[in-house]
């Protein structure tokens, strides 16, 4: 087990034991894995797998109940003309839309699809702990079974690691057995890969079930080297503790090619055990349409177009 008791000293001395990230090596390995050629049959499998891993997301200020219901319908049956397409991994919405999403899913054959809520003052995380706790409780009370929380990047970058740690522990306590906790590192603001690795371990040690790259509101978001670093962290954490933590890249994954690159990374870094929606999710909205169009291409032999998928 990890020798962390929540104090600044214990966290820092543990994080010091981590091996540093080789920046050039990580980038070139991620680029190399991105060039793998995928054969047609594997591609078909990869497309369906990717669809089943999507956290279908709508996080706009302009979201309406109508839009949330529409994406819930799409989550259950991504391609209305093809029942062989699997349903997505989850639906990810803002707090006030959780109940609407949950009810619409339940009434439309999506009982098995969880609703994820972004809480703790998403996306900035700039609110008091009381507000963050209340935010999380509210989401769970409304039917969220997955909580996507943001870490306090300001505290992390200024070295106040105990505060970050304590917040995650606190939110995890609220979630308990009722909800899965995904911790958003917002890697676009963490500056270095070393910080990403440290933040990953910090989150996992504090009780995260998933570590997630980004809110989607900051660029760069889920770049392949960042996902590689996080997958390595997850793999190392498993060797250390025997516990499998999930990874969720989010933001900037828009094409089938991007999604398949992510799956290759998972397979080659963390291992095939991670290639299931319990341990790997992709936060996306536009990606689903591209996956569906590629799927149509593979099944019908002709390139599809936007007129044949739903508008979101």
């Amino acid at each position: 087990m990890l020798a962390i008791d929540g104090t600044e000293t214990s966290i820092k001395s543990f994080l010091r034991t981590l091996s540093p990230v080789d920046q050039v090596g990580a980038e070139s390995r991620a680029a190399m894995l991105g060039t793998r050629s995928i054969k047609t049959t594997s591609k078909l499998w990869a497309i369906d797998t990717a669809i089943s891993m999507i956290d279908l997301t709508t996080l706009e200020g302009a979201d309406t109940p109508g839009k949330v219901k529409a994406i819930c319908t799409k989550a259950v049956r991504p391609d209305p003309l093809d029942a062989t397409v699997p349903h997505v991994g989850a639906v990810c919405v803002y707090n006030d839309m959780v109940r609407i999403a949950r009810e619409h899913l339940d009434n439309n054959g999506g009982k098995s699809i969880p609703v994820a809520a972004v809480s703790t003052a998403f996306p900035s995380g700039r609110a008091s702990l009381e507000v963050k706790k209340r935010d999380t409780e509210d989401a769970i009370a409304n039917g969220a079974t997955e909580i996507d929380m943001v870490i306090d990047r300001g505290a992390f970058l200024s070295g106040n690691l105990a505060k970050v740690f304590a917040e995650i522990v606190c939110i995890k306590e609220i979630c308990g057995e009722r909800a899965h906790l995904k911790v958003i590192l917002e890697t676009g603001e963490l500056v270095t890969y070393d910080n990403v690795r440290k933040a990953s371990f910090l989150a996992m040690a504090a009780g995260a079930d998933f570590i997630k790259t980004s809110t989607g509101k900051v660029t760069p978001a889920a770049t392949t080297p960042v996902v590689l670093v996080m997958l390595e962290a997850v793999r190392d954490y498993f060797q250390l503790t025997g516990k499998r933590i999930g990874v969720k890249p989010a933001g900037g994954i828009r094409t089938t090619k991007d999604a398949i690159k992510q799956l290759v990374l998972v397979n080659e870094t963390a291992g095939p055990e991670w290639l299931n929606p319990e341990l790997f999710r992709i936060g996306a909205s536009a990606l689903l349409n591209d996956l569906l169009m590629q799927r149509m291409k593979m099944h019908h032999g002709q390139y599809s177009g936007r007129n044949y998928v739903t508008l979101d």
Partner: protein
């Protein structure tokens, strides 16, 4: 002695000049059999990328005011004028004609481009109109752009044919994927360099070089292409493309090489609005 700096003729997709995704190229010889260039040999995936680029910019290009489109197309003609020497040299190399004939063709091509540029803001008023209806409605019909059009350039001439295949489609507000004739890729790519530096948004025009026969079936079955100008295809390929294109009701035509507003209208849809009087 100075070593020649040879130009690599690449594709024109989304405002950039990539090599073919397939890495292929083919050898091009001049009329006397001397080596001329290694143009890219486009694959179906280059077509796919070009269609994505054309679709992404379609809204922006079609919603620009007709007058603005007209200005931009006129700008293309201006820049062509400045590149005359290069066009002439390439026509001579590809067709083996005299310099005077080549100059005549370039002038023709530029004039033709200006002619189509002028049509942008006139087509709707000439071919649209108010319809007499019995009822308290104003009833208008106006032609609007179709979307993404693919165009197979014919081999009647190395430059003018390209203008015939490109300019009318743009004038109607469509975005375009043009497939250059296998024998005349040089003028097409040079024209794309002109287009790239004339305020035409990237992706509005995409030019592929290679074998039309190889690309045609993928154009025919592509569900995101709305119209095809098959002027540069042989009858067998054209007929097959018409069959494939029936799936998403593509507009498929081929044209004699005459300048005509009908070439613009061929890729426009007439839309009618009923507007109640007194509201």
């Amino acid at each position: 002695m100075r070593i020649d700096v040879k130009k690599t003729y690449k594709l024109f997709i989304g405002g950039q000049f990539p090599r073919s995704e397939s890495g292929r190229s083919y050898e091009l010889f001049d009329s006397k059999g001397n080596f001329l260039a290694n143009p890219a040999l486009a694959s179906r995936k280059d077509l796919r990328d070009a269609v994505v680029a054309a679709r992404n910019i379609s809204d922006k290009w079609s919603s620009a005011t007709a007058f603005n489109r007209s200005q931009i197309l006129y700008r293309v003609a201006e820049v062509m004028e400045g590149r005359k020497d290069q066009f002439i040299a390439e026509i001579i190399a590809q067709e083996g004609v005299t310099k005077a004939q080549a100059l005549k063709q370039v002038n023709e091509a530029i004039d033709l481009w200006v002619w189509y540029a002028g049509w942008c803001d006139k087509i709707a008023s000439v071919y649209g109109g108010t319809n007499p209806v019995s009822g308290s409605f104003y009833n208008f019909t106006t032609p609007e752009n179709l979307g993404v059009v693919a165009s197979f350039i014919s081999d009647q001439s190395s430059l003018t044919s390209i203008v015939h295949a490109v300019a009318p489609i743009l004038a109607g507000g469509n975005t375009l994927v043009a497939v250059a004739h296998e024998d005349y890729p040089l003028s097409a790519i040079t024209l794309s360099e002109v287009i790239a530096t004339s305020d035409v948004p990237g992706g509005v025009v995409n030019i592929l070089t290679g074998k039309a026969k190889e690309i045609a079936p993928w154009v025919g079955s592509h569900m995101d292409i709305d119209g095809v100008d098959g002027s540069g295809l042989d009858s067998t390929t054209y007929d097959a493309l018409r069959k494939d294109g029936a799936d998403n009701l593509k507009r498929i035509n081929r044209f004699d090489e005459v300048k005509s507003p009908q070439r613009i209208l061929a890729y426009m849809e007439h839309k009618t609005v009923w507007h109640p009087i007194g509201i």
